[in-house]
């Protein structure tokens, strides 16, 4: 079972050491990802979802630092790698695409130049060959008139087209894992749908794994197999798409779903926002980080951080409510 997992993260802890003190951006998260699966990581801004992705890539910049845990990618310990090894891994084995396609391409070089560069820094092949690959890749992501597009600069592309170029650049070396950090957030809704569709198709075609980071539950439902909900540096609930959407166990997940408009909602049904603001990560309180905003908050929630409790199958949630319900049935542990 171990070998089937492409990526395994255990108790990962990432902190930012600022002048004001240590900010625990990621505070002990664990998950594993099988080959060819799409995992969604959902959370509001500041919940640590991007930081976690950067640590996998080895792209954390000071003052951020991994302070504990392990990341095993394809049997290799990413945290133990040297800078050279990480460079070789980035782009060829794990790729990443980012939120804002408008600023992610270097404005002073042509698209072709930037694509070819991505190939050439990993493979020793003639430039001509790399150019052919780049053109193929552009066609694959649905860009027409490839010959001409290769010689154009990023500002001559629209946002959606640039994101396609980014995807092409990410996939050009056939990586095993693609990390997509809010790839559709900055795009128009119609373009969003196109990009999602494209990613879904490509994922099936090349059979790679994707970690899809977003704050948009709708996007998750669209593309993911498995979902982890992050809050204040913790994974507070994790399960299949069905579990999360139809049987959410954590009040925060509940809240997220209720604050999201639904097509099938009754006309008088109102969206219910989650009250309050996220905790101060500089000085996180003991207990459940969501406690103060939680409508079901109990006394223990303010004292003890809740453990992950299995609901059924792989579905887990970190909430004392589950323990209480178990307690009613007569036992703390299942």
């Amino acid at each position: 079972m171990e070998n089937k997992n492409l990526l395994e993260i255990k108790d990962l802890k990432v902190s930012f050491f600022t002048s004001a003190g240590e900010v625990k951006a990621v505070d002990g998260i664990s998950y594993s990802l099988e080959k060819g699966r799409v995992m969604g990581i959902v959370g509001e801004s500041g919940s640590g979802k991007s930081v976690e992705a950067y640590s996998i890539m080895g792209l954390l910049q000071s003052p951020g630092k991994v302070v504990g845990g392990s990341i095993i990618f394809d049997g290799k310990d990413v945290l133990a790698m040297g800078e050279k090894e990480k460079q070789t891994m980035r782009g060829s084995e794990i790729s990443m695409i980012f939120q804002n396609p408008m600023t992610c391409l270097n404005p002073v070089y042509t698209i072709g130049n930037q694509l070819v560069e991505a190939v050439l820094c990993h493979e020793k092949i003639p430039r001509k060959e790399a150019e052919r690959r780049a053109k193929e890749m552009l066609e694959l992501v649905g860009i027409n008139n490839v010959e001409k597009r290769m010689t154009q600069y990023p500002h001559e592309f629209s946002g959606g087209m640039r994101q396609r170029v980014m995807i092409a650049m990410g996939l050009i070396c056939n990586p095993k894992l693609l990390i997509a950090d809010e790839p559709t957030t900055a795009l128009d809704v119609t373009i969003q749908a196109q990009i999602l569709e494209l990613m879904k198709q490509l994922q099936q075609k090349i059979n790679m794994s994707i970690i899809f980071i977003t704050h948009n539950l709708g996007v998750v439902a669209e593309i993911c197999d498995w979902v982890s909900v992050m809050y204040a540096g913790h994974i507070i609930e994790s399960g299949s798409v069905n579990d999360i959407f139809y049987n959410p166990k954590h009040p925060y997940t509940h809240g997220l779903l209720r604050s999201m408009p639904r097509v099938d909602a009754e006309s008088h049904e109102r969206l219910i926002p989650i009250e309050g603001t996220p905790v101060d990560m500089l000085d996180p309180p003991e207990g459940c980080p969501f406690g103060p905003r939680c409508e079901h908050c109990m006394k223990i929630c303010l004292r003890e951080a809740p453990p992950n409790i299995r609901v059924e199958g792989g579905h887990t949630a970190a909430c004392w409510l589950l323990a209480r319900d178990c307690g009613k049935e007569g036992g703390r542990n299942e």
Partner: protein
């Protein structure tokens, strides 16, 4: 949404064994599963004190050691230039017979020049002139630049277009050349004006060089300030809160006073502050070339220029004003930088 999940997802489930360490939990208390009250929730979160813009800026400035040292140096210079001469037994134009060309001594710490004037007191007066030139010139820039820039930015459209064309044109005029020309050309007409009108007489002690600096600052140097302010206003104008204020029926003057100015004030202060060293720079440059301040007054630049003639025999005479001038400009630069970081943390790199 997918309607059916394929079975066999168990392998994807988070690794439970290591996380689910319930045994390590302390025993539960009786009331653990009672709902928490609102006040309990509130005490849970420490509320940080919120600070006003100025308190926050001052706190940031105080933390910046370099800027605080620079501020200290500037204050020392102000004392040196404005209070210092009171304690000197000599005046800046007093020629002491038999005390010409003295080296540093207890009576004359900086020595004396070829006319027997005490250099310490002359350097004090020179700093005073340099500081005054810096402050006055920046004030000129402040007034003209901020009015021009905010009018242009606020009105926008065609007016803004034309006003910015003018700024562009002025920008491309080599300023130093114009100062040099003005200081030469103004000499005669200014002299006449001084003589004919009592009101202008006090200006005549400053000399045409200094006055042309002020004129040039008034004519050319404000464009930088105007550009910055216009940009700022244009940007602010599009902010939601301004639109909101307008939607609520606030009139133009209220919008400018309540919303635009307070948000520009940091930029204005910083730009003015950084204008001071550049004015001191320009004045010393002119005076060094012999086109600035008129004798017997002295500025740091003209003191250096005077000392250049005797550089082979009395090099120290040049060192004192030159070093003081450099430290003065450095202090203003550093303090201005610190102020910028404190007032506008977004700009900090």
């Amino acid at each position: 949404m997918r309607d059916a999940m394929s079975p066999g997802f168990g392998s994807l489930q988070p690794d439970m064994e290591s996380i689910l360490a319930m045994g390590q939990c302390p025993p539960f208390r009786e009331d653990d599963f009672e709902p928490a009250t609102q006040s309990e929730k509130e005490t849970f979160i420490e509320v940080r004190k919120s600070m006003s813009y100025w308190q926050d800026a001052w706190r940031r400035l105080k933390k910046n050691k370099v800027a605080m040292v620079a501020l200290g140096v500037i204050i020392l210079f102000l004392l040196f230039a404005f209070v210092g001469p009171l304690f000197s037994p000599y005046s800046y134009e007093q020629q002491i017979r038999g005390a010409e060309n003295l080296a540093s001594s207890l009576a004359h710490p900086f020595g004396t020049d070829s006319l027997g004037r005490d250099l310490l007191v002359r350097v004090m007066y020179g700093s005073r002139i340099s500081l005054a030139v810096g402050v006055i010139a920046s004030l000129i820039v402040l007034v003209i630049g901020s009015i021009y820039g905010s009018v242009s930015g606020y009105l926008g459209g065609r007016v803004d277009d034309i006003m910015m064309r003018i700024v562009e044109l002025i920008y491309s005029i080599p300023d130093v050349l114009v100062v040099l020309l003005l200081s030469t050309v103004l000499k005669v007409p200014l002299q006449q004006a001084f003589n004919s009108n009592n009101f202008f007489r006090f200006l005549s002690t400053l000399g045409p060089g200094l006055i042309s600096i002020f004129i040039v600052f008034g004519m050319l140097y404000w464009v930088g300030m105007a550009r910055i302010l216009r940009g700022q206003i244009l940007q602010l104008k599009q902010q939601e809160y301004v639109t909101a204020a307008r939607a609520l029926g606030a009139n133009s003057s209220r919008i400018i006073r309540r919303h635009l100015l307070p948000n520009c004030i940091g930029q204005i202060i910083v730009t003015t502050m950084l204008q001071i060293p550049s004015a001191i720079f320009l004045e010393s440059f002119l005076s060094f070339l012999g086109l600035g301040i008129a004798a017997p007054l002295a500025s740091l630049g003209s003191l250096c220029s005077d000392a250049l003639n005797g550089i082979y025999t009395y090099p120290m005479r040049l060192v004192f004003p030159a070093v003081i001038l450099s430290i003065l400009i450095l202090a203003f630069n550093l303090f201005g930088d610190g102020l910028r970081d404190a007032l506008d943390p977004r700009l900090k790199k």
